[in-house]
Protein backbone atom coordinates (compact mmCIF):
# COMPACT_ATOMS: atom_id res chain seq x y z
CA UNK A 1 0.00 0.00 0.00
CA UNK A 2 1.37 3.38 -0.98
CA UNK A 3 1.20 6.13 1.58
CA UNK A 4 1.85 9.81 0.96
CA UNK A 5 1.68 12.09 3.96
CA UNK A 6 2.12 15.66 4.93
CA UNK A 7 1.66 17.42 8.25
CA UNK A 8 1.84 20.74 10.02
CA UNK A 9 3.31 20.21 13.45
CA UNK A 10 1.83 22.14 16.32
CA UNK A 11 3.26 22.52 19.81
CA UNK A 12 1.96 20.22 22.47
CA UNK A 13 -0.41 21.79 24.96
CA UNK A 14 -1.45 19.31 27.60
CA UNK A 15 -5.09 19.43 28.54
CA UNK A 16 -6.00 22.06 25.98
CA UNK A 17 -9.71 22.74 26.54
CA UNK A 18 -10.38 23.86 22.97
CA UNK A 19 -8.64 21.10 21.05
CA UNK A 20 -10.49 17.90 20.24
CA UNK A 21 -8.42 15.76 17.89
CA UNK A 22 -10.26 14.32 14.93
CA UNK A 23 -9.54 12.01 12.04
CA UNK A 24 -11.53 11.53 8.91
CA UNK A 25 -11.70 10.33 5.36
CA UNK A 26 -12.03 13.49 3.31
CA UNK A 27 -12.46 11.91 -0.08
CA UNK A 28 -11.46 9.10 -2.38
CA UNK A 29 -8.89 9.57 -5.12
CA UNK A 30 -9.06 8.05 -8.59
CA UNK A 31 -12.66 7.08 -7.91
CA UNK A 32 -15.78 8.80 -9.18
CA UNK A 33 -17.94 10.59 -6.66
CA UNK A 34 -21.16 8.88 -5.70
CA UNK A 35 -23.17 12.00 -6.53
CA UNK A 36 -22.43 15.18 -8.46
CA UNK A 37 -20.75 17.75 -6.22
CA UNK A 38 -22.13 21.24 -5.97
CA UNK A 39 -20.64 23.43 -8.68
CA UNK A 40 -19.90 20.56 -11.05
CA UNK A 41 -22.95 21.29 -13.21
CA UNK A 42 -24.46 17.90 -12.60
CA UNK A 43 -21.32 15.92 -13.42
CA UNK A 44 -19.83 13.41 -11.06
CA UNK A 45 -16.11 13.99 -10.56
CA UNK A 46 -12.89 12.04 -10.18
CA UNK A 47 -10.11 13.65 -8.23
CA UNK A 48 -6.97 12.07 -9.59
CA UNK A 49 -4.38 10.78 -7.19
CA UNK A 50 -1.79 13.02 -8.78
CA UNK A 51 -3.98 16.11 -8.38
CA UNK A 52 -4.75 15.19 -4.77
CA UNK A 53 -1.07 14.71 -3.93
CA UNK A 54 -0.15 18.00 -5.59
CA UNK A 55 -2.89 19.73 -3.64
CA UNK A 56 -2.01 18.21 -0.23
CA UNK A 57 0.06 21.24 0.86
CA UNK A 58 -2.92 23.49 0.20
CA UNK A 59 -5.06 21.37 2.51
CA UNK A 60 -2.85 21.78 5.56
CA UNK A 61 -3.88 24.64 7.77
CA UNK A 62 -7.26 24.90 6.13
CA UNK A 63 -10.32 25.03 8.30
CA UNK A 64 -13.13 22.59 8.72
CA UNK A 65 -16.54 24.18 8.86
CA UNK A 66 -20.11 23.04 9.32
CA UNK A 67 -23.63 24.13 8.53
CA UNK A 68 -26.25 23.94 11.30
CA UNK A 69 -28.35 21.69 9.06
CA UNK A 70 -25.31 19.42 8.51
CA UNK A 71 -25.89 19.31 4.80
CA UNK A 72 -23.15 21.46 3.36
CA UNK A 73 -20.46 24.06 3.86
CA UNK A 74 -20.58 27.34 5.69
CA UNK A 75 -17.23 29.04 5.41
CA UNK A 76 -18.19 31.50 8.15
CA UNK A 77 -18.50 28.67 10.69
CA UNK A 78 -14.95 27.43 10.91
CA UNK A 79 -14.85 25.01 13.80
CA UNK A 80 -11.50 23.32 13.41
CA UNK A 81 -8.22 23.02 11.56
CA UNK A 82 -6.56 20.33 9.44
CA UNK A 83 -2.99 19.52 10.43
CA UNK A 84 -2.40 16.18 8.69
CA UNK A 85 -3.27 14.88 5.27
CA UNK A 86 -2.39 11.50 3.84
CA UNK A 87 -3.32 9.52 0.80
CA UNK A 88 -3.54 5.90 1.79
CA UNK A 89 -4.65 3.65 -0.99
CA UNK A 90 -7.62 5.42 -2.49
CA UNK A 91 -8.51 7.30 0.68
CA UNK A 92 -7.45 10.83 1.46
CA UNK A 93 -7.21 10.87 5.23
CA UNK A 94 -7.09 14.00 7.32
CA UNK A 95 -6.51 14.74 10.97
CA UNK A 96 -6.60 17.88 13.03
CA UNK A 97 -8.35 19.64 15.84
CA UNK A 98 -11.89 20.66 16.44
CA UNK A 99 -12.41 23.84 18.47
CA UNK A 100 -14.55 21.90 20.89
CA UNK A 101 -14.99 24.61 23.50
CA UNK A 102 -16.06 27.19 20.93
CA UNK A 103 -18.32 24.79 19.06
CA UNK A 104 -19.85 22.41 21.62
CA UNK A 105 -22.74 21.69 19.24
CA UNK A 106 -20.34 20.14 16.76
CA UNK A 107 -18.74 17.92 19.35
CA UNK A 108 -22.19 16.94 20.63
CA UNK A 109 -23.39 16.07 17.13
CA UNK A 110 -20.36 13.91 16.40
CA UNK A 111 -20.14 12.18 19.76
CA UNK A 112 -23.81 11.69 20.49
CA UNK A 113 -25.03 11.01 16.98
CA UNK A 114 -25.36 7.57 15.45
CA UNK A 115 -21.81 6.31 14.75
CA UNK A 116 -20.87 6.46 11.09
CA UNK A 117 -23.40 9.08 10.14
CA UNK A 118 -20.97 11.96 9.81
CA UNK A 119 -18.75 12.45 6.80
CA UNK A 120 -16.60 15.09 5.21
CA UNK A 121 -16.55 17.21 2.10
CA UNK A 122 -13.80 19.21 0.44
CA UNK A 123 -13.97 22.61 -1.15
CA UNK A 124 -11.79 23.11 -4.21
CA UNK A 125 -10.83 26.27 -6.03
CA UNK A 126 -9.54 26.65 -9.58
CA UNK A 127 -10.13 23.03 -10.45
CA UNK A 128 -8.89 21.99 -13.87
CA UNK A 129 -11.26 19.68 -15.67
CA UNK A 130 -9.67 17.49 -18.31
CA UNK A 131 -12.75 17.30 -20.52
CA UNK A 132 -15.74 19.45 -19.74
CA UNK A 133 -17.92 17.34 -22.04
CA UNK A 134 -17.17 14.07 -20.28
CA UNK A 135 -19.94 12.48 -18.27
CA UNK A 136 -17.64 12.25 -15.29
CA UNK A 137 -15.30 15.17 -14.89
CA UNK A 138 -11.67 14.33 -14.19
CA UNK A 139 -10.01 16.90 -11.99
CA UNK A 140 -6.33 17.05 -12.81
CA UNK A 141 -5.39 20.11 -10.80
CA UNK A 142 -6.99 21.95 -7.90
CA UNK A 143 -6.41 23.81 -4.67
CA UNK A 144 -8.07 22.79 -1.43
CA UNK A 145 -9.64 25.80 0.25
CA UNK A 146 -11.41 24.05 3.09
CA UNK A 147 -13.43 21.12 4.29
CA UNK A 148 -16.72 20.58 6.00
CA UNK A 149 -18.21 18.15 8.49
CA UNK A 150 -21.61 17.02 7.32
CA UNK A 151 -23.97 14.10 7.17
CA UNK A 152 -22.48 11.36 5.03
CA UNK A 153 -25.61 11.15 2.95
CA UNK A 154 -25.12 14.80 2.01
CA UNK A 155 -21.53 14.26 0.88
CA UNK A 156 -20.78 13.69 -2.78
CA UNK A 157 -18.53 10.78 -1.79
CA UNK A 158 -20.26 7.99 0.06
CA UNK A 159 -17.23 6.61 1.87
CA UNK A 160 -16.15 9.64 3.83
CA UNK A 161 -16.08 9.71 7.59
CA UNK A 162 -15.44 11.98 10.54
CA UNK A 163 -14.50 10.80 14.01
CA UNK A 164 -13.41 12.51 17.17
CA UNK A 165 -10.73 10.91 19.29
CA UNK A 166 -12.03 9.14 22.36
CA UNK A 167 -10.10 11.29 24.78
CA UNK A 168 -10.27 15.05 24.49
CA UNK A 169 -7.76 17.70 25.45
CA UNK A 170 -4.77 15.85 24.12
CA UNK A 171 -2.47 16.93 21.38
CA UNK A 172 -2.95 14.95 18.19
CA UNK A 173 0.75 15.05 17.54
CA UNK A 174 1.58 13.75 21.00
CA UNK A 175 -0.89 10.95 20.54
CA UNK A 176 0.32 10.20 17.09
CA UNK A 177 4.02 10.95 16.88
CA UNK A 178 7.16 11.09 18.99
CA UNK A 179 7.52 14.22 21.05
CA UNK A 180 10.76 15.20 19.34
CA UNK A 181 8.86 15.62 16.06
CA UNK A 182 6.70 18.34 17.53
CA UNK A 183 8.02 21.75 16.62
CA UNK A 184 6.01 24.92 16.54
CA UNK A 185 5.49 26.30 13.10
CA UNK A 186 7.44 23.58 11.32
CA UNK A 187 6.10 21.50 8.50
CA UNK A 188 6.93 17.90 7.99
CA UNK A 189 6.60 15.37 5.24
CA UNK A 190 7.07 12.09 6.91
CA UNK A 191 5.88 8.67 6.05
CA UNK A 192 6.58 7.29 9.52
CA UNK A 193 4.70 10.08 11.21
CA UNK A 194 1.75 9.48 8.98
CA UNK A 195 1.76 5.80 9.82
CA UNK A 196 1.29 6.60 13.48
CA UNK A 197 -1.19 9.34 12.67
CA UNK A 198 -3.38 6.99 10.72
CA UNK A 199 -2.71 3.50 12.05
CA UNK A 200 -3.94 0.72 9.85
CA UNK A 201 -7.24 -0.72 10.98
CA UNK A 202 -7.41 -4.43 11.55
CA UNK A 203 -8.85 -6.07 8.44
CA UNK A 204 -11.91 -7.46 10.19
CA UNK A 205 -12.69 -4.16 11.83
CA UNK A 206 -12.28 -2.46 8.47
CA UNK A 207 -14.73 -4.86 6.85
CA UNK A 208 -17.28 -4.38 9.61
CA UNK A 209 -16.89 -0.65 9.34
CA UNK A 210 -17.38 -0.69 5.60
CA UNK A 211 -20.40 -2.93 5.98
CA UNK A 212 -21.94 -0.56 8.50
CA UNK A 213 -21.26 2.39 6.22
CA UNK A 214 -22.87 0.61 3.26
CA UNK A 215 -25.92 -0.18 5.36
CA UNK A 216 -26.22 3.37 6.57
CA UNK A 217 -25.91 4.62 3.04
CA UNK A 218 -28.53 2.26 1.67
CA UNK A 219 -30.96 3.52 4.31
Amino acid sequence: MKLEAMAVTLPEVAGHPNRAPFTGVLTLVDEPSTKPPSGARGHRVILTRRAALSALPSLLGMAVDYAPSWDGHDSRRKCGIITHADVEGSRLLVAGYLFAKDFPEVERQVRQGVPGTMGMSWELADAHVEDMRAEIWTLTRATFTGAAILLREKAAYRNTSFELAAARCRSTMTRLAPAECVQAGATGHSRDRARVAFPKRPLRKEQTWNHQQAKTWSR
Binding site: K35, P37, S121, L124, A127, H128, V129, M132, A142, A155
Partner: protein, 150 residues
Protein backbone atom coordinates in the same frame (compact mmCIF):
# COMPACT_ATOMS: atom_id res chain seq x y z
CA UNK B 1 17.94 17.50 -80.18
CA UNK B 2 18.23 16.02 -76.69
CA UNK B 3 19.71 12.63 -75.96
CA UNK B 4 17.59 9.89 -74.30
CA UNK B 5 19.55 10.41 -71.07
CA UNK B 6 18.74 14.13 -71.16
CA UNK B 7 15.02 13.39 -71.66
CA UNK B 8 15.09 11.05 -68.69
CA UNK B 9 16.72 13.70 -66.58
CA UNK B 10 14.05 16.26 -67.52
CA UNK B 11 11.27 13.79 -66.72
CA UNK B 12 12.89 12.92 -63.42
CA UNK B 13 13.25 16.57 -62.49
CA UNK B 14 9.61 17.25 -63.34
CA UNK B 15 8.52 14.24 -61.31
CA UNK B 16 10.56 15.41 -58.34
CA UNK B 17 9.11 18.89 -58.59
CA UNK B 18 5.57 17.47 -58.59
CA UNK B 19 6.41 15.31 -55.60
CA UNK B 20 7.86 18.29 -53.76
CA UNK B 21 4.75 20.36 -54.29
CA UNK B 22 2.57 17.47 -53.13
CA UNK B 23 4.71 17.01 -50.03
CA UNK B 24 4.44 20.71 -49.26
CA UNK B 25 0.66 20.53 -49.57
CA UNK B 26 0.57 17.49 -47.30
CA UNK B 27 2.76 19.21 -44.70
CA UNK B 28 0.42 22.21 -44.74
CA UNK B 29 -2.55 19.91 -44.19
CA UNK B 30 -0.81 18.19 -41.28
CA UNK B 31 -0.02 21.55 -39.70
CA UNK B 32 -3.64 22.64 -40.05
CA UNK B 33 -4.85 19.39 -38.53
CA UNK B 34 -2.45 19.78 -35.60
CA UNK B 35 -3.70 23.32 -34.97
CA UNK B 36 -7.31 22.15 -35.08
CA UNK B 37 -6.57 19.31 -32.66
CA UNK B 38 -4.87 21.70 -30.26
CA UNK B 39 -7.82 24.07 -30.39
CA UNK B 40 -10.23 21.22 -29.84
CA UNK B 41 -8.29 19.93 -26.85
CA UNK B 42 -8.14 23.35 -25.24
CA UNK B 43 -11.88 23.84 -25.75
CA UNK B 44 -12.60 20.48 -24.10
CA UNK B 45 -10.62 21.19 -20.93
CA UNK B 46 -11.62 23.97 -18.60
CA UNK B 47 -11.32 25.58 -15.20
CA UNK B 48 -14.00 25.59 -12.54
CA UNK B 49 -13.67 28.32 -9.97
CA UNK B 50 -15.28 26.45 -7.08
CA UNK B 51 -16.46 22.90 -6.47
CA UNK B 52 -17.78 21.61 -3.18
CA UNK B 53 -18.04 17.88 -2.52
CA UNK B 54 -21.47 18.19 -1.00
CA UNK B 55 -24.61 17.40 -2.90
CA UNK B 56 -26.61 20.37 -4.03
CA UNK B 57 -29.45 21.20 -1.71
CA UNK B 58 -32.89 21.91 -3.13
CA UNK B 59 -32.51 25.59 -2.25
CA UNK B 60 -29.26 25.83 -4.21
CA UNK B 61 -30.88 24.09 -7.16
CA UNK B 62 -33.80 26.48 -6.97
CA UNK B 63 -31.50 29.51 -6.85
CA UNK B 64 -29.49 28.13 -9.75
CA UNK B 65 -32.69 27.73 -11.75
CA UNK B 66 -33.67 31.32 -10.98
CA UNK B 67 -30.21 32.53 -11.95
CA UNK B 68 -30.36 30.65 -15.25
CA UNK B 69 -33.78 32.15 -15.99
CA UNK B 70 -32.54 35.65 -15.15
CA UNK B 71 -29.46 35.23 -17.34
CA UNK B 72 -31.62 34.02 -20.20
CA UNK B 73 -33.92 37.01 -19.78
CA UNK B 74 -30.97 39.40 -19.80
CA UNK B 75 -29.63 37.76 -22.96
CA UNK B 76 -33.03 38.08 -24.64
CA UNK B 77 -33.37 41.74 -23.66
CA UNK B 78 -29.86 42.46 -24.92
CA UNK B 79 -30.62 40.76 -28.20
CA UNK B 80 -33.85 42.75 -28.46
CA UNK B 81 -32.03 46.05 -27.87
CA UNK B 82 -29.36 45.15 -30.41
CA UNK B 83 -31.94 44.37 -33.05
CA UNK B 84 -33.78 47.68 -32.46
CA UNK B 85 -31.08 50.36 -32.31
CA UNK B 86 -33.54 53.10 -33.32
CA UNK B 87 -35.43 52.60 -30.08
CA UNK B 88 -32.43 53.62 -27.98
CA UNK B 89 -32.68 57.41 -28.27
CA UNK B 90 -36.22 57.30 -26.89
CA UNK B 91 -35.10 55.32 -23.87
CA UNK B 92 -32.33 57.79 -23.18
CA UNK B 93 -34.61 60.86 -23.35
CA UNK B 94 -34.21 63.11 -20.32
CA UNK B 95 -36.86 62.77 -17.69
CA UNK B 96 -39.37 65.58 -17.31
CA UNK B 97 -38.54 68.18 -14.73
CA UNK B 98 -40.65 68.14 -11.64
CA UNK B 99 -41.82 71.14 -9.70
CA UNK B 100 -40.58 72.20 -6.32
CA UNK B 101 -43.23 71.97 -3.55
CA UNK B 102 -44.96 75.29 -2.87
CA UNK B 103 -43.83 75.44 0.77
CA UNK B 104 -40.20 75.01 -0.29
CA UNK B 105 -40.53 77.63 -3.03
CA UNK B 106 -42.08 80.08 -0.55
CA UNK B 107 -39.36 79.46 1.99
CA UNK B 108 -36.63 79.97 -0.57
CA UNK B 109 -38.35 83.12 -1.84
CA UNK B 110 -38.34 84.49 1.70
CA UNK B 111 -34.62 83.82 1.83
CA UNK B 112 -34.09 85.78 -1.37
CA UNK B 113 -34.04 82.91 -3.87
CA UNK B 114 -37.01 83.91 -5.98
CA UNK B 115 -35.85 82.25 -9.18
CA UNK B 116 -35.10 78.54 -9.15
CA UNK B 117 -33.78 78.25 -12.68
CA UNK B 118 -30.19 78.19 -11.50
CA UNK B 119 -29.22 78.24 -7.86
CA UNK B 120 -25.66 78.73 -6.76
CA UNK B 121 -24.40 76.36 -4.09
CA UNK B 122 -23.16 79.21 -1.89
CA UNK B 123 -26.45 81.11 -2.07
CA UNK B 124 -28.43 77.97 -1.30
CA UNK B 125 -26.29 77.12 1.73
CA UNK B 126 -26.67 80.69 3.00
CA UNK B 127 -30.46 80.53 2.52
CA UNK B 128 -30.71 77.25 4.40
CA UNK B 129 -28.48 78.39 7.22
CA UNK B 130 -31.30 78.86 9.69
CA UNK B 131 -32.69 75.38 9.23
CA UNK B 132 -31.82 72.25 11.12
CA UNK B 133 -29.68 69.59 9.48
CA UNK B 134 -32.68 67.37 8.71
CA UNK B 135 -34.60 70.28 7.18
CA UNK B 136 -31.60 71.28 5.06
CA UNK B 137 -31.31 67.72 3.78
CA UNK B 138 -35.03 67.61 3.01
CA UNK B 139 -34.99 70.89 1.07
CA UNK B 140 -31.89 69.89 -0.88
CA UNK B 141 -33.46 66.51 -1.69
CA UNK B 142 -36.56 68.29 -3.04
CA UNK B 143 -34.43 70.61 -5.16
CA UNK B 144 -32.42 67.63 -6.39
CA UNK B 145 -35.59 65.80 -7.41
CA UNK B 146 -36.84 68.91 -9.17
CA UNK B 147 -33.59 69.17 -11.10
CA UNK B 148 -32.74 72.62 -9.71
CA UNK B 149 -29.46 71.37 -8.29
CA UNK B 150 -27.43 68.44 -9.48
Amino acid sequence: MESPTGENMVALTESMERMESRLEAAAALVERAATLLEERESSMSGEVRKIVAAVETSREAELQKKLDAAEQQIAELRAEIETKPEAQPETHAPSARRTVPASTAQFLAKQGLSTLESVEAGALDAALNGLSLEQRIAVKAQLLRAGVVS
